[in-house]
Symmetry: C2
Subunit: 167 residues, 2 copies
Protein backbone atom coordinates (compact mmCIF):
# COMPACT_ATOMS: atom_id res chain seq x y z
CA UNK A 1 0.00 0.00 0.00
CA UNK A 2 1.28 3.44 -0.93
CA UNK A 3 -0.30 6.23 1.06
CA UNK A 4 -0.21 9.79 -0.21
CA UNK A 5 0.34 11.83 2.92
CA UNK A 6 0.35 15.27 1.40
CA UNK A 7 0.14 16.89 -2.00
CA UNK A 8 1.56 20.38 -1.85
CA UNK A 9 2.65 22.46 -4.83
CA UNK A 10 2.65 19.42 -7.04
CA UNK A 11 4.91 17.43 -4.73
CA UNK A 12 3.39 14.22 -3.50
CA UNK A 13 4.99 12.92 -0.33
CA UNK A 14 4.51 9.22 0.01
CA UNK A 15 4.96 7.01 3.02
CA UNK A 16 5.46 3.33 2.47
CA UNK A 17 3.79 0.98 4.88
CA UNK A 18 3.99 -2.74 5.34
CA UNK A 19 1.30 -4.56 7.25
CA UNK A 20 1.18 -1.86 9.87
CA UNK A 21 0.35 1.76 10.43
CA UNK A 22 2.11 3.96 12.91
CA UNK A 23 -1.03 5.62 14.20
CA UNK A 24 -0.33 4.67 17.75
CA UNK A 25 -2.52 1.77 18.86
CA UNK A 26 -0.54 -0.22 21.42
CA UNK A 27 -0.40 -4.00 21.66
CA UNK A 28 -1.85 -5.56 24.84
CA UNK A 29 0.28 -6.82 27.75
CA UNK A 30 3.46 -5.05 26.65
CA UNK A 31 2.10 -1.71 25.39
CA UNK A 32 4.39 -1.82 22.34
CA UNK A 33 3.49 0.50 19.44
CA UNK A 34 4.60 0.37 15.82
CA UNK A 35 7.75 2.52 15.63
CA UNK A 36 7.68 5.26 12.97
CA UNK A 37 9.98 4.61 10.03
CA UNK A 38 10.63 0.93 10.79
CA UNK A 39 10.37 0.05 7.08
CA UNK A 40 13.52 2.14 6.56
CA UNK A 41 15.54 0.16 9.10
CA UNK A 42 18.50 -1.93 8.06
CA UNK A 43 18.32 -5.62 7.30
CA UNK A 44 19.37 -8.23 9.86
CA UNK A 45 18.44 -11.31 7.84
CA UNK A 46 15.72 -13.20 6.00
CA UNK A 47 13.79 -16.41 6.69
CA UNK A 48 11.11 -18.71 5.35
CA UNK A 49 8.68 -20.64 7.47
CA UNK A 50 7.03 -23.43 5.50
CA UNK A 51 4.12 -25.52 6.78
CA UNK A 52 0.99 -23.72 7.94
CA UNK A 53 2.72 -20.35 8.14
CA UNK A 54 4.17 -20.50 4.61
CA UNK A 55 5.62 -17.02 4.85
CA UNK A 56 8.63 -15.03 3.73
CA UNK A 57 10.33 -12.94 6.37
CA UNK A 58 12.64 -9.99 6.56
CA UNK A 59 14.02 -9.04 9.95
CA UNK A 60 15.03 -5.38 10.34
CA UNK A 61 16.61 -3.60 13.28
CA UNK A 62 16.92 -0.06 14.58
CA UNK A 63 20.43 1.38 14.93
CA UNK A 64 20.85 -0.05 18.43
CA UNK A 65 19.95 -3.51 17.18
CA UNK A 66 22.23 -3.36 14.12
CA UNK A 67 25.17 -2.09 16.19
CA UNK A 68 24.72 -4.84 18.78
CA UNK A 69 24.55 -7.52 16.10
CA UNK A 70 27.66 -6.26 14.32
CA UNK A 71 29.61 -5.97 17.54
CA UNK A 72 28.28 -9.41 18.57
CA UNK A 73 27.14 -7.84 21.83
CA UNK A 74 24.83 -9.92 24.06
CA UNK A 75 22.51 -9.27 25.78
CA UNK A 76 21.03 -6.66 23.47
CA UNK A 77 21.09 -3.21 25.10
CA UNK A 78 17.98 -1.37 26.19
CA UNK A 79 16.51 0.51 23.24
CA UNK A 80 16.99 -2.37 20.85
CA UNK A 81 14.00 -2.88 18.58
CA UNK A 82 13.74 -5.72 16.10
CA UNK A 83 10.89 -5.94 13.62
CA UNK A 84 9.98 -9.04 11.67
CA UNK A 85 7.95 -8.42 8.50
CA UNK A 86 6.11 -11.37 6.98
CA UNK A 87 4.64 -11.72 3.52
CA UNK A 88 2.96 -14.61 1.78
CA UNK A 89 5.43 -17.00 0.17
CA UNK A 90 4.39 -17.12 -3.47
CA UNK A 91 5.86 -18.53 -6.70
CA UNK A 92 6.92 -15.94 -9.27
CA UNK A 93 5.51 -16.79 -12.69
CA UNK A 94 7.53 -14.07 -14.39
CA UNK A 95 10.82 -15.20 -12.84
CA UNK A 96 10.09 -18.85 -13.60
CA UNK A 97 9.65 -17.99 -17.28
CA UNK A 98 13.15 -16.53 -17.34
CA UNK A 99 14.73 -19.43 -15.49
CA UNK A 100 12.78 -21.89 -17.63
CA UNK A 101 11.51 -23.82 -14.62
CA UNK A 102 9.43 -23.41 -11.47
CA UNK A 103 12.10 -22.43 -8.99
CA UNK A 104 11.46 -18.82 -8.00
CA UNK A 105 9.63 -17.70 -4.87
CA UNK A 106 9.01 -14.11 -3.87
CA UNK A 107 7.21 -12.05 -1.23
CA UNK A 108 3.47 -11.74 -1.87
CA UNK A 109 0.95 -9.67 0.10
CA UNK A 110 1.94 -8.66 3.65
CA UNK A 111 0.72 -10.93 6.47
CA UNK A 112 1.73 -9.16 9.66
CA UNK A 113 4.63 -7.62 11.54
CA UNK A 114 6.10 -8.63 14.89
CA UNK A 115 8.23 -6.54 17.20
CA UNK A 116 10.65 -7.12 20.06
CA UNK A 117 11.55 -4.10 22.19
CA UNK A 118 14.30 -4.33 24.82
CA UNK A 119 13.68 -2.64 28.17
CA UNK A 120 15.30 -4.73 30.86
CA UNK A 121 13.41 -3.06 33.72
CA UNK A 122 9.98 -2.65 32.19
CA UNK A 123 9.92 -6.16 30.78
CA UNK A 124 11.98 -7.90 33.47
CA UNK A 125 9.53 -10.81 33.73
CA UNK A 126 9.82 -11.67 30.02
CA UNK A 127 13.57 -11.69 29.57
CA UNK A 128 13.75 -7.91 29.19
CA UNK A 129 11.68 -7.95 26.00
CA UNK A 130 8.29 -6.53 25.12
CA UNK A 131 6.56 -8.26 22.23
CA UNK A 132 3.90 -7.21 19.74
CA UNK A 133 2.14 -8.38 16.62
CA UNK A 134 0.22 -6.13 14.25
CA UNK A 135 -1.85 -6.94 11.21
CA UNK A 136 -2.93 -4.00 9.04
CA UNK A 137 -1.92 -1.73 11.91
CA UNK A 138 -4.13 -3.52 14.45
CA UNK A 139 -2.51 -5.36 17.35
CA UNK A 140 -3.37 -8.97 18.09
CA UNK A 141 -5.31 -9.80 21.24
CA UNK A 142 -4.03 -10.54 24.73
CA UNK A 143 -4.20 -14.32 24.30
CA UNK A 144 -1.91 -14.08 21.26
CA UNK A 145 0.59 -11.90 23.11
CA UNK A 146 0.76 -14.39 25.98
CA UNK A 147 2.32 -16.86 23.54
CA UNK A 148 5.26 -14.63 22.54
CA UNK A 149 7.67 -15.11 25.42
CA UNK A 150 7.11 -18.86 25.91
CA UNK A 151 7.92 -19.34 22.23
CA UNK A 152 11.11 -17.25 22.49
CA UNK A 153 12.32 -18.83 25.75
CA UNK A 154 14.26 -21.64 24.02
CA UNK A 155 16.48 -18.95 22.46
CA UNK A 156 17.69 -17.78 25.88
CA UNK A 157 21.35 -18.30 24.91
CA UNK A 158 20.98 -15.62 22.22
CA UNK A 159 18.98 -13.29 24.51
CA UNK A 160 15.66 -14.78 23.33
CA UNK A 161 16.29 -13.70 19.73
CA UNK A 162 16.16 -16.33 16.99
CA UNK A 163 17.54 -14.36 14.07
CA UNK A 164 21.27 -14.31 13.37
CA UNK A 165 22.82 -11.44 11.44
CA UNK A 166 23.64 -12.15 7.79
CA UNK A 167 26.74 -10.49 6.43
CA UNK B 1 32.86 -11.64 8.54
CA UNK B 2 33.28 -8.83 11.03
CA UNK B 3 36.25 -6.63 10.29
CA UNK B 4 37.73 -4.46 12.99
CA UNK B 5 38.72 -1.31 11.16
CA UNK B 6 40.20 0.63 14.02
CA UNK B 7 40.69 0.29 17.74
CA UNK B 8 41.20 3.72 19.26
CA UNK B 9 40.85 4.58 22.93
CA UNK B 10 38.97 1.36 23.55
CA UNK B 11 36.44 2.01 20.81
CA UNK B 12 36.34 -0.67 18.16
CA UNK B 13 34.79 0.48 14.93
CA UNK B 14 33.44 -2.41 12.96
CA UNK B 15 32.42 -2.62 9.35
CA UNK B 16 30.08 -5.36 8.30
CA UNK B 17 30.65 -7.00 4.97
CA UNK B 18 28.60 -9.44 2.97
CA UNK B 19 30.17 -11.43 0.20
CA UNK B 20 31.99 -8.39 -1.05
CA UNK B 21 34.63 -5.88 -0.10
CA UNK B 22 34.62 -2.28 -1.17
CA UNK B 23 38.29 -2.18 -2.05
CA UNK B 24 37.65 -1.00 -5.55
CA UNK B 25 38.14 -3.82 -8.03
CA UNK B 26 35.77 -3.19 -10.93
CA UNK B 27 33.72 -5.83 -12.74
CA UNK B 28 34.55 -6.40 -16.44
CA UNK B 29 32.46 -4.99 -19.31
CA UNK B 30 30.55 -2.48 -17.17
CA UNK B 31 33.27 -1.27 -14.79
CA UNK B 32 30.89 -1.43 -11.82
CA UNK B 33 32.48 -1.41 -8.36
CA UNK B 34 31.02 -2.46 -5.03
CA UNK B 35 29.45 0.70 -3.56
CA UNK B 36 30.61 1.57 -0.02
CA UNK B 37 27.96 1.04 2.63
CA UNK B 38 25.61 -1.02 0.47
CA UNK B 39 24.89 -3.38 3.39
CA UNK B 40 23.24 -0.42 5.15
CA UNK B 41 20.83 0.23 2.28
CA UNK B 42 17.11 -0.22 2.70
CA UNK B 43 15.25 -3.37 1.80
CA UNK B 44 13.33 -3.68 -1.46
CA UNK B 45 12.26 -7.30 -1.06
CA UNK B 46 13.33 -10.90 -0.56
CA UNK B 47 13.38 -13.99 -2.78
CA UNK B 48 14.28 -17.65 -2.89
CA UNK B 49 15.62 -19.45 -5.91
CA UNK B 50 15.29 -23.21 -5.54
CA UNK B 51 16.83 -25.74 -7.93
CA UNK B 52 20.54 -25.55 -8.60
CA UNK B 53 20.86 -22.05 -7.14
CA UNK B 54 19.12 -22.90 -3.85
CA UNK B 55 19.74 -19.47 -2.42
CA UNK B 56 18.09 -16.90 -0.20
CA UNK B 57 18.07 -13.33 -1.48
CA UNK B 58 17.67 -9.88 -0.10
CA UNK B 59 17.44 -7.02 -2.55
CA UNK B 60 18.52 -3.62 -1.24
CA UNK B 61 18.50 -0.23 -2.90
CA UNK B 62 20.24 3.11 -2.55
CA UNK B 63 18.06 6.16 -1.81
CA UNK B 64 17.42 6.80 -5.50
CA UNK B 65 16.21 3.23 -5.96
CA UNK B 66 13.97 3.24 -2.87
CA UNK B 67 12.41 6.58 -3.80
CA UNK B 68 11.71 5.40 -7.35
CA UNK B 69 10.10 2.19 -6.11
CA UNK B 70 7.91 3.98 -3.58
CA UNK B 71 6.81 6.56 -6.11
CA UNK B 72 6.29 3.75 -8.64
CA UNK B 73 8.48 5.69 -11.04
CA UNK B 74 9.64 3.90 -14.22
CA UNK B 75 12.14 3.92 -15.77
CA UNK B 76 14.46 4.11 -12.78
CA UNK B 77 16.41 7.39 -12.78
CA UNK B 78 20.15 7.59 -13.38
CA UNK B 79 21.97 6.99 -10.13
CA UNK B 80 19.76 4.08 -9.13
CA UNK B 81 21.74 1.19 -7.69
CA UNK B 82 20.17 -2.10 -6.70
CA UNK B 83 22.16 -4.81 -4.93
CA UNK B 84 21.07 -8.41 -4.62
CA UNK B 85 22.71 -10.32 -1.75
CA UNK B 86 22.53 -14.12 -1.86
CA UNK B 87 23.16 -16.61 0.91
CA UNK B 88 22.85 -20.37 1.03
CA UNK B 89 19.32 -21.53 1.77
CA UNK B 90 19.67 -23.71 4.86
CA UNK B 91 17.30 -25.36 7.35
CA UNK B 92 17.43 -23.97 10.88
CA UNK B 93 17.75 -26.77 13.40
CA UNK B 94 17.21 -24.43 16.34
CA UNK B 95 14.06 -22.90 14.88
CA UNK B 96 12.67 -26.31 13.94
CA UNK B 97 13.03 -27.46 17.54
CA UNK B 98 10.84 -24.56 18.67
CA UNK B 99 8.22 -25.12 15.97
CA UNK B 100 8.31 -28.87 16.61
CA UNK B 101 8.75 -29.68 12.93
CA UNK B 102 11.12 -29.14 10.02
CA UNK B 103 9.70 -25.97 8.52
CA UNK B 104 12.25 -23.22 9.10
CA UNK B 105 14.77 -22.00 6.53
CA UNK B 106 17.30 -19.25 7.07
CA UNK B 107 20.21 -17.54 5.36
CA UNK B 108 23.46 -19.51 5.59
CA UNK B 109 26.91 -18.45 4.37
CA UNK B 110 27.04 -15.70 1.73
CA UNK B 111 27.24 -16.81 -1.90
CA UNK B 112 27.71 -13.61 -3.89
CA UNK B 113 26.29 -10.18 -4.57
CA UNK B 114 24.96 -8.75 -7.82
CA UNK B 115 24.54 -5.11 -8.73
CA UNK B 116 22.55 -3.08 -11.24
CA UNK B 117 23.63 0.53 -11.76
CA UNK B 118 21.54 2.90 -13.86
CA UNK B 119 23.34 5.26 -16.23
CA UNK B 120 21.24 5.68 -19.34
CA UNK B 121 24.05 7.16 -21.41
CA UNK B 122 26.99 5.03 -20.29
CA UNK B 123 25.02 1.80 -20.54
CA UNK B 124 22.71 2.71 -23.44
CA UNK B 125 23.33 -0.61 -25.22
CA UNK B 126 22.16 -2.66 -22.21
CA UNK B 127 18.92 -0.91 -21.33
CA UNK B 128 20.70 1.80 -19.37
CA UNK B 129 22.01 -0.65 -16.78
CA UNK B 130 25.49 -1.71 -15.81
CA UNK B 131 25.70 -5.13 -14.18
CA UNK B 132 28.17 -6.79 -11.83
CA UNK B 133 28.65 -9.89 -9.74
CA UNK B 134 31.14 -10.22 -6.91
CA UNK B 135 32.09 -13.18 -4.78
CA UNK B 136 34.25 -12.48 -1.73
CA UNK B 137 34.94 -9.06 -3.21
CA UNK B 138 36.20 -10.45 -6.52
CA UNK B 139 34.25 -9.75 -9.71
CA UNK B 140 33.20 -12.56 -12.02
CA UNK B 141 34.81 -12.85 -15.45
CA UNK B 142 33.78 -11.27 -18.71
CA UNK B 143 31.90 -14.33 -19.95
CA UNK B 144 29.72 -14.24 -16.85
CA UNK B 145 28.96 -10.57 -17.26
CA UNK B 146 27.89 -11.10 -20.86
CA UNK B 147 24.97 -13.16 -19.54
CA UNK B 148 23.51 -10.39 -17.32
CA UNK B 149 21.59 -8.28 -19.80
CA UNK B 150 20.18 -11.15 -21.91
CA UNK B 151 18.78 -12.64 -18.70
CA UNK B 152 17.21 -9.33 -17.65
CA UNK B 153 15.78 -8.49 -21.09
CA UNK B 154 12.45 -10.29 -20.50
CA UNK B 155 11.79 -7.81 -17.66
CA UNK B 156 11.80 -4.86 -20.09
CA UNK B 157 8.31 -3.74 -18.98
CA UNK B 158 9.68 -3.08 -15.49
CA UNK B 159 12.87 -1.43 -16.80
CA UNK B 160 14.76 -4.77 -16.77
CA UNK B 161 14.33 -5.17 -13.00
CA UNK B 162 12.72 -8.34 -11.68
CA UNK B 163 12.20 -7.38 -8.06
CA UNK B 164 9.00 -5.70 -6.93
CA UNK B 165 8.93 -3.60 -3.79
CA UNK B 166 7.41 -5.25 -0.71
CA UNK B 167 5.47 -2.96 1.59
Amino acid sequence: MLVAVAAVAGVVVCMAQASGHTDGEAAPLFGVKIPPGYRDWRLISVAHEAGNLNDFRAILGNDTAINAYREEKLPFPDGTTIVRLAWSYVPSEENNKVFGRAQSFVAGPPINIQLMVKDSKKYASTGGWGFAQFKDGKPGDEALHKTCFPCHEPAKASDFVFTHYSR
